[in-house]
Amino acid sequence: MSVQTELLEKISEGIYDPESEVDVDELTKQALAEKIPVLTIVDALTRGISILGDKFDSMDVFLPELIVGANMMEDAMKILTPEIEKLSQDNTAIPVKIVVANLQGDIHDIGREILCTMFRVAGFTVDNLGNDMKAGDIIDQAIAKDADFIGLSSLLTTSLPFAKDVISLLKARNLRDRFKVLMGGGAVTPDYVNKIGADGYSTTATEAVKLITRMYDEMTGVK
């Protein structure tokens, strides 16, 4: 195995193995110094986070480890960003912008944390608005962040009706076509999403990533 390949392997391992104690930031800097193409380094990071996602799905690692891995990847990406920006070719990251919130009255944040972490892993720009968000405030934040998508999460059946308020406020403010509204969480059903006229539903964070990627491709005309 060449030195470069070994370095890239270690970067991946640093992300997916919480016990490895590898300094991913340091290795990322070393990889740049070794003149490894920046997109190859991004691939190593992506491979690491993808393996970590699979391990989370199979319950070999847990939410805190997923968060740590995502934070490591984000920090490494900050190191790589200036080099990526120098490239004339297209950025590999998907330029999706999304705001995610738990509806008013709902303070169950773990599902939303998982979702936001998986979105970051997928390369989306995510604004995690937090718990107990009023419909009007969610929309204001989506405008301020220039988001494409609004993600609404609810574990409580009694918070679910506030999702309908988001849709009706968007209509009242002539903003319905500007945002795609997606829903998930324990209390949400596909029937409810259809009933209130939201745009999408997913049961898991992994599904949500696929759904948004597909919708974004449709919106931008990518086949």
Binding site: M59, F62, L63, P64, G105, T158
Partner: protein, 456 residues
């Protein structure tokens, strides 16, 4: 034991911590405690019979409470308790409660191995959104089941067609209507004094609880629920319920939802957090009962091997060290009208009965669809009765659960949601339709063939 004023004072003056830091500290501490006390999950033993490991879990939970305390998210402060305070609270709490009134009253126990008592069976559909027009017959279908000892309401999600919103005025109306219909259901079933567990299920805030604090609705012989936020956290809304509970004579119960795969870690970590939740909520909330609800990160259901194991080791840990009334939730993946919901009910009945737990009933389709009825609860109670009277051992229980599990595990990835109540029951007579009854009889015969000796 710390008074509510002392708890509130600690919530305002305790050590400051950011929520993210608290979450990560919990995870790291839990990992160390799992190693230190040798807690090991095994999918082969959903019913835990390792006495030493269960004792270790109790000690690990105590240590976790001492290190972490309970976080108040509104103030970002930690409500700390000493080991002495935690032990005093858990040892001083009632071991037996007389729930309900008159001929319909039942004893709820902190169970011990070999105490000669079977569990107290709670029937109903906790956390399940019920349509207004079906609320009364659905609850009546549970009240009519003789083996059900106490009852828990489902949630009303609309009132006169309007959505009930968290913190909105309809929470008050919904909770009051819920109790009016619960009382009617119990009277029509001839069990007017039956204990209503977790009254005010239709409200996520303290508004609903306050609205039913009168003898026409939630009586002194009923109970209401005070959740612990996941993991080991509280807030002013929960503490307001504590204050309500102290100044109104009904019973109170905690609700603890350790997430398997979340900040607690895997099944082992979730078990430590669940046990710690019992200790902390006894000290901070002064509750008399505990509802333990394992949440599987991927499948939600308690009927997963991880969910049953988590509940089981907690049940054993407290039965051996500090018996307190614990009701385990029994959320299942599937719904009424299916074979699978009956098999899930049977597996949970065996694991909970043999782990010295009581039950907080089935939440069909993990509480998402109103696809629930009294019949699956009947089977649950019959399996409990059989397991108790035949003296089923944990080893035999695990052997039978393995066979039952094979009948429903395919549904975790592809849930068979079943049918709504009005498709499986005659709504006027409140009796199961023939097809649903035939299915129940067939599954019951299959279970008997696996070694469950039904008495009738």
């Amino acid at each position: 034991m710390a008074s509510i004023f002392e708890v509130l004072s600690r919530a305002e003056n305790g050590p400051y911590i950011k929520e993210d830091e608290y979450n990560m500290k919990l995870f790291k501490t839990n990992k160390q405690l799992i190693k230190k006390y040798g807690i090991r999950y095994s999918k082969e033993t959903p019913i835990v019979f390792d006495k030493e490991m269960a004792d270790g879990l109790f000690q690990a939970a105590l240590e976790l409470c001492e290190i972490m305390g309970m976080m108040c998210v509104d103030t970002s402060r930690i409500i700390n308790f000493t080991r002495e305070e935690l032990l005093a609270a858990i040892y001083q709490t009632s071991k037996e409660l007389l729930l309900g009134a008159g001929k319909d009253s039942r004893v709820m126990r902190g169970r011990r191995f070999g105490d000669g008592n079977k569990m107290t069976v709670c029937g109903g559909c906790p956390g399940t959104p019920l349509p207004e027009e079906l609320f009364l017959p659905i609850m009546l279908s549970y009240a009519k089941e003789p083996l059900i000892d106490i009852i828990i309401p489902g949630s009303l999600v609309t009132i006169e067609g309007m959505d009930v919103k968290t913190g909105g005025p309809l929470e008050i109306r919904a909770c009051r209507q819920e109790m009016i219909w619960m009382r009617e259901a119990l009277e029509r079933a001839g069990r007017p004094g039956m204990h209503i567990y977790a009254a005010g299920e239709s409200s996520a805030t303290e508004l609903g609880t306050l609205a039913i604090c009168n003898d026409r609705m939630m009586r002194a012989t009923d109970s209401h629920m005070i959740p612990v936020l996941s993991e080991l956290k509280t807030d002013y809304a929960r503490l307001s319920r504590v204050m309500t509970g102290l100044e109104y004579p009904s019973f109170t119960t905690s609700l603890i939802d350790p997430i398997i795969g979340g900040f607690a870690g895997g099944p082992e970590g979730a078990a430590i957090v669940g046990a710690a939740g019992i200790l902390l909520s006894t000290a901070a909330y002064n509750v008399q009962m505990h509802c333990m609800h394992a949440i599987h990160n991927k499948y939600i259901s308690v009927s997963t091997k991880e969910g049953m194991w988590m509940d089981s080791i907690i049940g054993r840990a407290f039965a051996q060290n500090a018996p307190v009334p614990i009701l385990a939730d029994a959320w299942v993946t599937t719904g009424s009208g299916t074979d699978e919901v009956l098999y899930e009910a049977a597996a949970l009945a065996i694991s909970q009965e043999l782990s010295m737990l009581n039950t907080d009933s089935l939440g069909s389709t993990n509480g998402i669809y109103p696809n629930c009825s009294g019949l699956e609860n009947r089977l649950f109670a019959e399996v409990v009765d059989a397991a108790f009277h035949q003296g089923m051992t944990p080893e035999k229980g695990n052997e039978i659960i393995e066979k039952i599990y094979a009948k429903y595990c395919h549904c975790f990835d592809n849930p068979n949601l079943g049918l709504p109540f009005n498709k499986v029951y005659d709504v006027k007579l409140v009796t199961p339709k023939e097809e649903w009854l035939d299915r129940y009889k067939r599954v019951k015969a299959d279970l008997a063939g696996m070694g469950i000796n039904f008495r009738y």
